[in-house]
Subunit: 84 residues, 2 copies
Amino acid sequence: MYLAKIFVTHKKSILDPQGEAIKNALHRLDYEAVENVSQGKYFETTLNCDSEDKAKQITDSICDSLLANPNMETYRFEIEKVGD
Amino acid sequence: MYLAKIFVTHKKSILDPQGEAIKNALHRLDYEAVENVSQGKYFETTLNCDSEDKAKQITDSICDSLLANPNMETYRFEIEKVGD
């Protein structure tokens, strides 16, 4: 069994209004040290497969086909072996 | 300058309908190896402060006061030094 930790974030070229809104809210709460904020999605998925390579292949595929919008988002992930 | 990578996820006791919906969608796309899916939020924020301890303190505070809903969510973060 493998655990995939998937990070989906906006492409640099894409405006991140959510991140801007959070930054402004934090400044209104007097967190002046905050320079930039970006918000993305974080997924954890357990995969019942027999090798790390297979887990990477499945994770790539589920990101491309469902979890990340290729026009606006980019993704990266980490794979960990968990249990048998 | 410090970069905080923040992961906000549902508490274990809280139902994650979004994660369930994604799991079902992936099964319909024939990704049978997928066992569980949980979706959370991922933030990156740059902090203009002078120590890692200060960066941790600010990050804790912005999570408690804005980024994570204490009733339903839990958070963890990683701090990296970036630039001067």
